[in-house]
């Protein structure tokens, strides 16, 4: 034994002669305890990182929900109106015809409602009800023309000040609102106007539909351009492109475009579409074009991965029975890759829907008080609307901004959910 040790190289002899570690000694036990404690600490730090990140998300969503849900409701005031005494010069027959709104407006319904507010709530009555209260009364009259000859108590929207005092308090109107509440005159209802209206300077009158329609028009343009171009170039690069310098250039361009900050696309849109081609400012068409350029690389990359995942045996089989190379791709590869392409497209579209900065660059930040009429008329988009409202000084806009964010998040969630559903339902493993 000793002889063998003597023949060993120096390093190995040291190992062989080393006394085995005694794990039972106090020093070793302390050391092990310390190492295990470090292990537990490390593990806890990992868990803490996950929990903290998830907690940020939860906090963000809860904050938005807590502030935003109130934005979907409106405070209403029960306003007694005596139509018989007011002497509105409108006949019940007129109310059932077209042009009833104009008839009511020219008959002075607004004045009648203001007078009724003063009569019901005192001299500050006109400040308590919203400027649009008479429109609500008019709708009620159109639904029930019989009211013209009598009296009615109609719940009309309260003014921005009352609305804010009733929802969050801490305003000069708090005392007045408490009084009204004690008289059971305040009610809360769902603000349908928020879903059907457009931008306004009065937070109780703003609506999301204008911005939503702008977003939809923009997304239509984006989809119509980015999807075909993205899919075709993905197919080209994956199936036909010869290995040469041009193909490399295309690939490098696409990979770089996917990483270019979105605001740069806005600058491109401004310099090329607006300044060079003289396209209309603030239009959904230009917004869609700009976002299409931004979304296209996302679709190309997703599309290439989907096409790559189709096994070569499918192509070989199709070629073997005499299909041409175009037929192979369009009859077999694309249909099989479609779920993956669609998933990538939806994710790209969701990103485009939430994008703000490029749209600011091409002027989609103007105040637009009605839904856009078409692709070339001035429009705004949902995320831009959030940005615009967040800049408003009036406190009433806080809940409206959060409500708009909820609408935006619901759309994004629906799109991403659809993408996940498509992936799970149609994904094939070969």
């Amino acid at each position: 034994m000793t002889g063998m040790v003597a023949q060993m190289p120096d390093r190995d002899r040291k190992v062989a002669e080393r006394v085995p570690t005694d794990w039972k000694t106090g020093a070793m036990q302390t050391r092990i305890r310390r190492r295990y404690a470090a292990e537990r600490r490390f593990r806890f730090m990992g868990l803490a990182a996950v929990v903290l990140s998830a907690a940020f998300l939860a906090f963000l969503l809860v904050t938005m929900l807590a502030q935003g849900l109130r934005g979907f409701t409106e405070t209403r005031l029960a306003l007694p109106i005596d139509f018989a005494a007011a002497g509105l010069e409108v006949t019940p027959a007129q109310l059932e015809q077209r042009g009833a709104d104009a008839a009511l407006a020219s008959a002075g319904l607004e004045r009648v409602v203001d007078n009724a507010a003063v009569a019901a709530f005192g001299p500050d009555g006109m400040d308590l009800i919203s400027d649009t209260a008479w429109i609500r009364v008019g709708e009620r009259l159109k639904a029930d023309p019989g009211l013209l000859g009598g009296q009615a108590v109609i719940a009309v929207p309260a003014s921005a000040g009352v609305d804010l005092a009733a929802k969050s308090g801490d305003t000069p109107l708090d005392a007045r609102v408490a009084e009204l509440r004690a008289q059971n005159r305040l009610t809360t209802g769902f603000a349908w106007g928020f879903l059907t209206g457009a931008d306004s300077t009065d937070p109780t009158r703003v609506g999301i539909w204008g911005a939503l329609k702008g977003s939809i028009l923009t997304m239509v343009v984006t989809l119509l351009l980015a999807f075909p171009i993205g899919v075709l170039s993905a197919v080209y690069l994956e199936e036909y492109a010869p290995r040469n310098r041009w193909t490399d250039l295309i690939e490098v361009s696409i990979n770089n475009l996917a990483a270019v900050p979105s605001i740069i696309f806005g600058l491109l849109g401004l310099a090329v579409f607006l300044a060079t081609f003289q396209m209309p400012r603030s239009a959904a068409l230009v917004g869609g074009l700009t976002l299409a350029l931004m979304t296209m690389p996302v679709i190309v990359i997703a599309g290439r991965n989907a096409v790559k995942a189709v096994p070569p045996s499918i192509r070989d089989a199709a070629l073997g029975i005499g299909a041409s190379r175009v037929q192979v791709v369009f009859h077999h590869v694309i249909p099989l890759a479609l779920p993956g392409i669609l998933t990538g497209t939806i994710i790209g579209m969701a990103r485009a829907l939430g994008e703000t900065a490029p749209l600011l660059m091409i002027g989609m930040r103007a105040f637009i008080a009605g839904p856009p009429g078409g692709f070339t008329s001035p429009a705004t988009a949902l995320p831009v609307q959030v940005f615009l409202w967040s800049d408003e000084v009036s406190r009433g806009f806080v809940e409206k901004t959060s409500a708009a964010i909820i609408v935006l998040l619901v759309f994004l969630l629906a799109m991403n959910g659809l993408a996940i559903y498509l992936r799970n339902k149609f994904e094939q493993r070969w």
């Binding site: 996950v50 990140s53 600011l360």
Partner: protein, 457 residues
């Protein structure tokens, strides 16, 4: 005829061509076998009928506004009333155009009313010409293709050649976009640098482009405070949040968590990357910034701004967590299992294995991921626009307000725009810097990641 109606008419003609080509083929061939399926003959003729006039229309729509304007300027009415100053001139022309199209009811400048009829008349003349030319092109294309339909005509090869051209054309859009970005940024930046010395721009420390300057005074286009603010928020504060949280999340989810936890937590963390940035911006400005200001005041920092670098950087860091985490996840997964097993077999605990073996081995991938995250963070716009300030301070105080490149681009390009002022063009110069820096970061990051992947393959 409106462009849309014409487009629909052309598509209709295409369908007619498609059907008639098939009918002709079946009449000519009878029972005989044809080289190509009838489908391809149909497509061949339909494409020849519809595509040339549609391409012509696209070109036409882009050039007529200019042609119409020139024609209107040449009319006697215009010669009398058009102002010579270019800006007023184009404003008046734009108004007359809008009036002629019925987009506006009442012009700001009453002279536009005089020009509008000339506009409408010229426009309708050009529209008529376009319609006639498009229809002639359609019929010529149809006649050419239709006469070639014969049983032995190789229609499929022709159609496939067109398809291949379309595929190639679609892929060239990416190059065109890149060229468009580079060209527009370079061109406008060049104009800017002809007004402002590039060295003053890149190394100057005073940024106040909104101020009116007297001749001979420093115009305030020194962008160093912007670069510093961008780095401070995007590359320092945001990364101080994102790297520990992202890396540790990735480590926990890949090494410790049960598969069920991992399956749920990974997508949940990825939601963080899917939340629109405008939402983060609003959250940072409304919820985080006041908390930070109050906290700073509580610990005795007097000049804490409500638009602090810290608020914007923190929230941006949260947004970046999933990027860091998924890159770290990928690179840890790419470390060969034998290295991990070897370390564990030597008696190392899991955390020792992770810290001394896995993370050092995965470091190039993690660094690449962090570089990508930095490039993403410095290009991010809405969070800093809404939560960081506009004051171009050169400070390392996280409670003070700093401004970033993207914030200033937005600031410079909103409001009244004259496309020729140094103020507007400065935005393009900033855009160019941003573009170059993010591009370099991406190239370096991808190279690092690629080389490291090759090391283990």
């Amino acid at each position: 005829m409106s462009t849309l109606a014409l487009l629909i008419l052309l598509i209709g003609l295409g369908i007619v061509a498609w059907v008639s080509a098939r009918l002709r083929l079946s009449r000519l061939a009878g029972e005989e076998r044809t080289h190509s399926l009838p489908l391809y003959h149909g497509w061949y003729v339909a494409l020849w009928t519809a595509v040339p006039p549609i391409l012509f229309l696209i070109l036409w729509v882009n050039i007529t506004p200019a042609l119409v304007s020139y024609a209107v300027i040449d009319t006697p009415v215009a010669a009398r009333i058009l102002p010579s100053e270019p800006l007023e001139r184009s404003a008046l022309l734009a108004e007359a155009r809008a009036l002629a199209k019925g987009q506006i009811e009442a012009p700001f400048n009453a002279d536009a009313r005089l020009l509008a009829p000339a506009y409408a008349e010229t426009q309708s003349r050009y529209d008529l010409g376009a319609t006639a030319l498009a229809l002639i092109l359609a019929f010529a294309g149809f006649a050419y293709a239709f006469t070639r339909v014969r049983p032995d005509f190789r229609a499929r090869t022709r159609v496939e050649r067109i398809v291949m051209a379309a595929l190639l054309g679609a892929s060239l859009v990416a190059i065109l976009t890149t060229v468009g970005i580079v060209a527009s940024l370079l061109f406008e930046s060049f104009r800017f640098f002809s007004m402002v010395n590039p060295l003053d721009f890149l190394f100057g420390t005073r940024w106040s482009p909104q101020a009116t300057v007297l001749p001979g005074e420093d115009p305030g286009f020194g962008a160093v405070p912007l670069f510093w603010g961008t780095i401070f928020i995007g590359a320092i504060i945001a990364m101080l949040v994102a790297i520990p949280l992202g890396l540790m999340s990735a480590v926990y989810l890949t090494q410790y968590a049960r598969p069920a936890v991992r399956r749920w937590m990974k997508p949940i963390l990825e939601i963080l990357a899917g939340v629109p940035t405008v939402v983060y911006g609003y959250f940072a400005a409304l919820t985080v910034a006041p908390v930070i200001r109050d906290a700073a005041a509580a610990i005795g920092i007097a000049n804490a701004s409500s638009e602090s670098a810290l608020a914007a950087g923190l929230v941006m860091g949260i947004m970046i967590i999933p990027f860091v985490s998924s890159m770290a996840d990928d690179s840890i997964a790419a470390v060969p299992g034998s290295m991990r097993d070897g370390s564990l077999a030597m008696g190392a605990t899991s955390s020792e294995t992770i810290r001394r073996v896995l993370i050092p081995a995965a470091l190039p991938g993690v660094v690449g991921g962090v570089l990508l995250a930095v490039s993403r963070a410095i290009g991010e716009t809405m969070i800093v626009v809404m939560a960081a300030g506009l004051a171009a301070n050169l400070t390392a105080n996280p409670f003070a307000s700093v401004t970033t490149v993207t914030t200033q681009i937005v600031q410079l390009l909103t409001g009244d725009q004259e496309f020729d002022s140094a103020k507007t063009l400065a935005a393009f110069a900033l855009g160019l810097v941003l573009f170059v820096v993010t591009l370099l970061l991406n190239i370096v990051a991808l190279r690092v990641v690629k080389r490291y992947r090759e090391a283990y393959e």
